[in-house]
């Protein structure tokens, strides 16, 4: 029996967006990357901007984002995704451009590019997946790793006296005049998934206005890197990551504020 036979006569209420390819995700069970990919591409499909959207994949677990996202894409060097996105947007100012980056990529090796891209107010969307660890290279300490958190390169727990504090780069970004919309979201519950999708929608709407950078942090998990089951990982994230990286809007455009909207 074919899948089409089995669904004959049934009403189609949900399917993979045409903006995702049929390549299965390589992500570990429970990882937030897949959900974030899907939401982003759903928004691109629903807004009808597939033909006008160019994405930049980072070096990190999502290096192969272009295997899944059915749009024109470029793969950047580690940390340079926002510089690559700047190059694209400057020569194609009418297109929608986004970069999609992990915490090592965006907040360690690419810190300068991140800050200066936003400071120039590049009209792009930066999606920042904060899982508190280097996933791709096997679970080393990230700039966002919490105090006391054990990783393969902080086997005794992150010690702030030796290595400094977890970097709240999104808070730094929010104070830059070039930032137009800055928010911190997550994908741990159905409600938060909906909120993140809304944030993606707004960002693409804002990109049309040419008013500055939209920056969305997604506090996420890394069950494999953290050595937990998906359920444990989400619980650990809620109990430990959320207090340090509280969800909610950090900067909303004035018009939004006047309407009293709060996405948090």
């Amino acid at each position: 029996m074919q899948i089409n036979d089995s669904i004959e006569g049934l009403e189609l209420v949900y399917q993979r967006p045409a903006t995702l390819t049929d390549t299965p995700f390589h992500y570990c069970p429970g990882c937030g990357h897949g959900v974030a990919h899907k939401l982003l591409m759903e928004v691109v499909e629903e807004m009808g901007i597939q033909e006008n959207t160019i994405g930049v994949a980072p070096v990190g677990c999502s290096v192969f984002a272009y295997h899944y996202m059915n749009i024109d894409m470029q793969e950047a060097a580690h940390g340079r995704a926002s510089a690559v996105a700047t190059g694209i947007k400057r020569v194609l100012p009418d297109k929608f451009v986004f970069s999609y980056q992990g915490d090592g990529d965006l907040a360690a090796i690419g810190t300068a590019e991140t800050i200066h891209t936003v400071n120039r107010g590049e009209n792009i969307l930066i999606v920042f997946i904060n899982n508190g660890i280097y996933g791709m290279t096997g679970g080393q300490m990230a700039p966002t790793t919490l105090i006391g958190q054990i990783t393969s390169t902080s086997p005794y727990g992150r010690d702030e006296k030796l290595i400094g504090y977890p970097l709240k780069i999104t808070d730094m970004i929010a104070i830059l005049p070039g930032a137009f919309y800055v928010t911190r979201q997550s994908v741990n519950t159905a409600g938060n998934v909906r909120k993140l999708k809304k944030a993606f929608q707004k960002s693409f709407e804002f990109q049309k206005l040419n008013k500055g950078t939209c920056f969305i942090e997604v506090v996420s998990n890394c069950p494999s890197g953290w050595g937990m089951t998906p359920v444990e990982a989400n619980k650990w994230m809620e109990e430990n990551m959320f207090p340090y990286y509280p969800l909610g809007d950090l900067k909303v455009p004035r018009t939004e504020k006047e309407k009293g909207s709060n996405n948090a």
Partner: protein, 368 residues
Amino acid sequence: MDQTLELIREARLMKGNEALAEAAIRAGVQAYFGYPITPQSEILEYLSREMPKRGGIVLQAESELAAINMIYGASGAGARVMTSSSSPGISLMQEGLSYIASAQLPCLVVNVNRGGPGLGTIQPSQGDYFQATKGGGHGDYHLIVLAPASVQEMADFVFDAITLAEKYRNPALILADGALGQMMEKVELPEEGSLEYPEKSWATVGKPKERERNIITSLFIQPEKMEKINLELQEKYRRLKEEVRYELVSTDDAEILMVAYGLSARICQKTIDLAREKGIKLGLLRPITLYPFPEEAVASFASKVDFYLVVEMNAGQMIEDVKLSVNGSRPVFHYGRMGGMISSPEEVLSKVEEILETQSVSNTSTGR
């Protein structure tokens, strides 16, 4: 009469850096990304002044690292793009250049070479020859490298480098030096708009419904695929050999062949005059493309000259390519100064005379 006037108007006195920058606009460069560094800041300054007026994009990046990755993005999006820097900044760009070479993106990079290593000096040097011609970053790849020797060529080679970069989908480098960048000479600027834009069906400009998505990447995780990409690149470098360019000066009756590029070649031209007054038959082969290197042309003199002398503003870098070309069939000597010092034509001649003396001693002793 009118035509003469036109020519006079077009023949301007310009600094090398400015001639190059003006040529870039005339060659249809759509976007420039760069970061200030002496002795090439005039390029960024000139373009900051002129590009906005003439419809181009110019952006001062936060670093050379950012600049070369903006080049990657903009070139991948189909634009004709360029960056420029000097030695330390070019070092910072190497990771990006390796990615650009692997992703097969055309772009123009200019290195106005200064003395090193380290922060070095802002005076002219040819110390970056190895970096320029052997790849420079990680992996098996090459840039197309052109070496101008005059302000005129600083302008002309912009057109040539872009043409080659786009024809082969490969980054092209103009390797100049601080003296060529700073000195003023008469230059006839190439005509604006004479370089057509090629079709770039591979560029990421947004995926229309009817075509597959375009992907710009240098990641080929399966070794079988990565090997295939490497073989493709090597095949391209073989085809590139058709583009070899060099200039011969006084080589018809030459008994000694100097090999020198850029500023060193100009010094050697003077040395030829001085030598010939003394009856020493010196000739010069000036490589114009440093990659591909004119190996056959260099080798072809082995049966005609007594020895080769490679003159460079470094400790001896191009001499390795000359030796590989000559393949032991003739002695190859080197003369060079480093750290921003420029040899005089007289110094080069003294070196020639010194070699002649030791050669004649060893010739008598070996009875040749």
